[in-house]
Symmetry: C2
Subunit: 402 residues, 2 copies
């Protein structure tokens, strides 16, 4: 099908990307949160420092599905051109995760290189090791839509033995990593050959908690007639309703997402309306992504604050002269009491505290008397980010017009 107008609209300036919101958010982080993280070694206890790319990255759309349902073709259709390293075919073809991003020229950045580049939001991926990084790459090309959205192509889910034998990394875990950072997750199915393997069910179940990001695409819907389409669609909903435990029905887009003419045009009007709705869904992505980034920064700032208070509390408990080793051991053993004291003193919600055992394990590697002291003005400044700056930022984002 051809719906150039849709995709043109998507890549035009009509799509608000909130650059000023992102810019302010980045500055807030750099000037008022990151310094606290650095002072109290937050990255050693929690997650890497954030880089500009983590703020500036376009919203991510991940595609998941059994092999040959048309994931790569779908991306090609959105781009209106081929992208480097793209492989399309009736056999299992895509054998790695591919982040399809904007770039002035066509080029492929291998996974290991991409994961150390500060201008890409993939630094977190190195925790999956080289066996995964060799199965990941970034494909850049100058398709206009990529200025607004990054697509994550994935290898097709296979069933049973094949799945286990072929892969040297944990597929479900890596999917979870991308799911967390995605703003939309598209589950693709083939109307012509509907198949919901146990493996795929497990991948879907691993997406629990991201329900609001999930959309389903029933692809190749023109390869069957109206009555068959109803049966296939019905069977899909029947099974999905069981996999998703929620009463809310997931949105399914029915159509054929490639640039070939419809095989069976009975449902042309339906497919066109569905595609328009899907494009509208994509147009809201930058807005949703901006809100998501703000929310994530809020969550992060609260963790940082608790972390800073814990570390400086431990420092404050240390004797200035003798008995340091003994005191440090007592503090480690009584870490639960430390948590409780800090919680009470600063009236912090328990949910913002880190996992006790993990924190103890990390802390044991340090000498508490070398921890920095409490810097209350830094904490106050971070507090006012949460109390004043963030609410102002949220106001800059237009409400959804339904």
């Amino acid at each position: 099908m051809a719906a150039i107008s849709n995709k043109a609209a998507m890549s035009s300036d009509a799509v608000e990307t909130y650059p000023e919101v992102i810019e302010k958010l980045k500055r807030l982080y750099k000037t008022r949160i990151r310094p606290v993280e650095e002072l109290y070694s937050f990255q050693q206890f929690h997650s890497p420092l954030l880089e500009d790319a983590d703020f500036e990255a376009a919203p991510m759309v991940m595609l998941l599905g059994q092999y040959s349902v048309g994931k790569t073709s779908f991306i090609r259709y959105m781009l209106e051109r081929d992208f480097p390293s793209q492989r399309i075919g009736p056999e299992p073809t895509t054998d790695r995760f591919v982040a399809v991003m904007y770039g002035e020229e066509d080029r492929v950045v291998p996974g290991a290189a991409a994961s150390i580049r500060k201008d890409k939001p993939f630094q977190g991926l190195d925790k999956f090791g080289v066996s995964f990084l060799s199965k990941f790459e970034v494909a850049e090309c100058p398709s206009p839509i990529l200025e607004k959205v990054t697509f994550i192509d994935t290898p097709g889910v296979l069933s049973g033995e094949k799945q286990r034998l072929g892969r040297t990394y944990d597929f479900v875990e890596t999917c979870e990593w991308f799911a967390e950072r995605s703003d939309l997750i598209l589950l693709l199915f083939d109307a012509h050959k509907l198949d919901i393997s146990d493996e795929f069910k497990r991948s879907i179940e691993a997406l629990r908690g991201h329900d609001d990001k999930i959309r389903v695409v029933l692809n190749k819907s023109d390869m069957v007639n109206s009555q068959q389409l109803m049966r296939v669609y019905g069977a899909l909903m029947w099974s999905l309703g069981k996999v998703f435990a929620t009463p809310e029905v997931v949105r399914v887009y029915i159509g054929s997402f490639w640039d070939q003419p419809l095989h069976n045009s009975e449902n042309q009007a339906l497919f066109e309306a569905e595609e328009q709705d899907l494009m509208a869904d994509l147009r809201y992505l930058p807005r949703n992504a901006a809100v998501r980034k703000i929310n994530e920064l809020v969550k992060r700032a609260r963790l940082v604050k608790v972390h800073a208070l814990l570390i400086s509390h431990l420092r404050g408990e240390m004797p200035s002269m003798f008995g340091k080793g003994k005191k440090q051991k007592a503090l480690l053993d009584g870490m639960l009491e430390v948590f409780k004291t800090v919680m009470r003193q600063h009236q912090l919600p328990p949910g913002d505290f880190p996992d006790l055992e993990r924190f103890k394990a990390r802390a044991a590697e340090y000498e508490f008397n070398k921890f920095p002291k409490l810097n209350m003005s830094m904490i106050e400044s971070m507090n006012s980010v949460l109390a004043a700056d963030i609410p102002q930022l949220l106001e800059l984002i237009a409400p959804v017009d339904d």
Copy 2:
């Protein structure tokens, strides 16, 4: 929609009703099973003797659904005419169970009268008492399709308080009674106003075990456009998948089952194909009903056999002169042992035995020494019905041509 040709085909002679199978089955029962039932008072322990009507009755199709989904209109559409007592309207209208059956003239037989007539298969209904019988009636009229099938119209399911307040009998229990005797159960939904209340879910759950008889009709599908229809249908399957615990998808017929022109004709071809499939489903009813009646008679004959062996065993244990009362008490107390002995002696499957406590309670009302003795030739004759006559009968029924 109009599909006269379909309904004409349904009521024509092309639909095989297997009169000779039914006739033979009836004779087998009357000559070789019923005499055993009468001799050993089977009806006092189990269920009433079967009458000709129980064999000859046309296959039953029960309609269930929330109020105003178009159940009564559906029947009217199949009949191609009004039927006596029919009421159609946007408010809850049908306030009782109505068996719509063939009759030379239009007339209504009230429930109480219908339940005592030997020429109707409704004698079992009297167990629900007068409060139910006043909410049941038989509507007779000479529509040709009724020679092949009886429709059971039902009051619409209401939600919450209304449901409980309005009814003086147990709706779910009566539904179960009809479901057991039906050959097809149609669950109707309104595409224009989809609503699956908790009450309706409970009714559906009560149909467990009859899954193979259940079909769904998504009615009034022409009142919405294609995209809305997809959403409604998807939501229906999503919920039904959760209510029916089975992986097999229930068959849904999508259309508009009344004689008005389509409101929205986008899906006309689909609706017509769906209606043809539904009519084909109905054409198989007599065949399925014949098989069901045979299966039920087999089940019944096995119960009768066990019953006869138990009764005659109790008789055989009784002393001819003194100590009758004491012996009867000992037998009652040791009924489990009696069951085990009879099971062993005649190598009977435990599944054919009645509920122990219920049997004891009934038996206690009799004097065991007045029970009839074992009539082995009657039992043998019943055995050969199961071993020889029934398999022959089954061969008379053509296999389903797919």
